[in-house]
Point group: C2
Chain length 279, copies 2
DNA sequence: CGCCCAATTGAAGACGCTCAAGGCTTGTGG
DNA sequence: CCACAAGCCTTGAGCGTCTTCAATTGGGCG
């Protein structure tokens, strides 16, 4: 496991957490290099929203107007610390970010993986502080949405409010599916379900296809998602590879047999609410 | 354990489940005794909301006006089936209700326990169908809130909308804490954390005190919350009893040493957001 | 070309599961 | 008032999944 002492004075995450794997951040989409960044980068966010709700041009315009700034973060850096008052929410534009909770003795549980287009802490708008840390898993680009602007949305755009409310409820649905995994699936099912979910979510924003996707998590991080040890994740991944189901190596997931993967995971995608409808 | 025969004709939950603890139902408000039942039964809901947000008289009035009907359910009955279109949300007035997800071979994971005053499926307002079943654990009294009325709330009461949004985010925070339990706590920690959480949540609505609370779950159901088997729950409960931490028997939890219980659970109540503030 | 992680493998052991049997409590009916 | 049934709780024994501890290998980068 990497150096995990962010409380050290003078701690520099860029030194402590060098990029462990080569990261192909945006292999599928090539934005016009001349465009101002934010307008195209929000596209993945819109893709996610449009897959599940009706987003009007007025909404899109309002959303663009909510951004106060964009920012780049290195890998393995806490971007939203737990229990600290927040005045803005953070949208992930590029890279991977996770939510996690710690216990004593280095026991860590990642409670959700975020992909580009996700709000990583939209819930901080009503919660005011978070019950968990939020950390980059790769270098990441994010946009800040001040809570003040979100508050205006709740007052002026009830339909958009419901869409964002829906999105936090979708996060909760993912948490529930992970509870099911952690409580009742065996190791292979847990890993298979994690990969099935991420493939679907990444497909939605154009970062995966039927054959696989770029996936820069280490086996330690996968073990922190699945409630296993890195050693056992390694053995489980080998089993899945030897069974011809899925291959994980060097920052990429190759889905060899998607049907077998879903079967191994007992995967039912309905918890991801992939239906466009009024919210 | 209390009577579990909801199929009996003439079954009366008020007789089968007499108030196990003296309930201070309305410490804040004293409704007109001539009012119909609903007005006092909502009191626990208001207690929960007021503990965390500022609820105006106008909001309370609006909430009362949203109820279309109240209903009694027997124990062990699915009150909201998974994947079925919903047109109302359900508030729990009396009894215990849980959310759960199933896999093959009878593997079941309870993802949340609801206590009186909780909305059991406020998220169905934006999700439209649920990714899990909702079942009574005891005979229960509930109130129905048509989605149509909730939609009007989002259009007329932004502040109340944020309070309800906050409440679904609180559910998600509880899911995260359970993920941590299921992924990283050992058996004793899981059971201890479940009991710690429920004591706090029940205290908020006047159904628990420092010494304990009525808790009608079977060991099978506790095992479905904690990702264990009923056999291992039994052994774990015995360990906690023999250590003088907590006693579970016949539908009641006696907290013998709350500090030890919290220590065993590594319990940090901040994820329950017990602060009254603007949302 | 050597360092630093991440990945990999082996061996031993712990925690929790499975299977099975018996005990206790409560409600029902004779 | 007693006998019985049903459901839940309890305990024992053996086993399996996953953990722990300890090396070793492999790949990317300075």
């Amino acid at each position: 496991m990497a150096n995990r002492s962010p409380t050290d004075p003078g701690f520099d995450p860029r030194v402590a957490y060098p990029a462990p794997i080569q990261r192909d951040i945006a292999p599928y989409m090539r934005p016009d290099p001349r465009q101002p960044e934010e307008s195209t980068m929000l596209e993945r966010h819109f893709m996610k929203l449009r897959a599940r709700a009706t987003l009007t041009a007025e909404h899109e315009q309002a959303i663009r107007g909510l951004i106060s700034e964009t920012r780049d973060h290195p890998a393995d850096k806490v971007v939203v610390p737990a229990y600290v008052e927040q005045t803005h929410s953070t949208l992930l534009l590029e890279g991977f970010i996770c939510r996690y909770k710690d216990l004593t003795n280095g026991r860590r549980q990642i409670t959700q993986i975020h992909v580009p287009g996700d709000f990583v802490d939209l819930h901080s708008f009503t919660l005011k502080y978070l019950d968990h840390d939020i950390m980059t898993l790769t270098p990441a680009k994010v946009a800040h949405f001040p809570h003040e602007g979100l508050r205006r949305v709740t007052e002026q755009f009830p339909a958009l409010t419901r869409i964002y409310w829906f999105n936090t409820n979708l996060d909760a649905a993912i948490h529930r599916e992970w509870e099911l995994s952690l409580g009742r699936r065996k190791a292979r099912g847990r890993v298979a379900m994690l990969l099935s979910e991420l493939q679907l979510r990444l497909e939605l924003v154009g970062l995966a296809d039927e054959t696989g996707f770029a996936f820069p998590l280490t086996q330690v991080e996968i073990s922190e998602c699945t409630g296993l040890t890195n050693v056992h994740v390694n053995r489980t991944v080998r089993e899945l590879r030897e069974a011809g189901v899925v291959e994980l190596r060097r920052g990429r997931v190759d889905v060899l047999d998607k049907e077998a993967l879903w079967r191994e995971a007992e995967f039912d995608p309905r918890y991801l609410y992939l239906q466009k409808r009024e919210r």
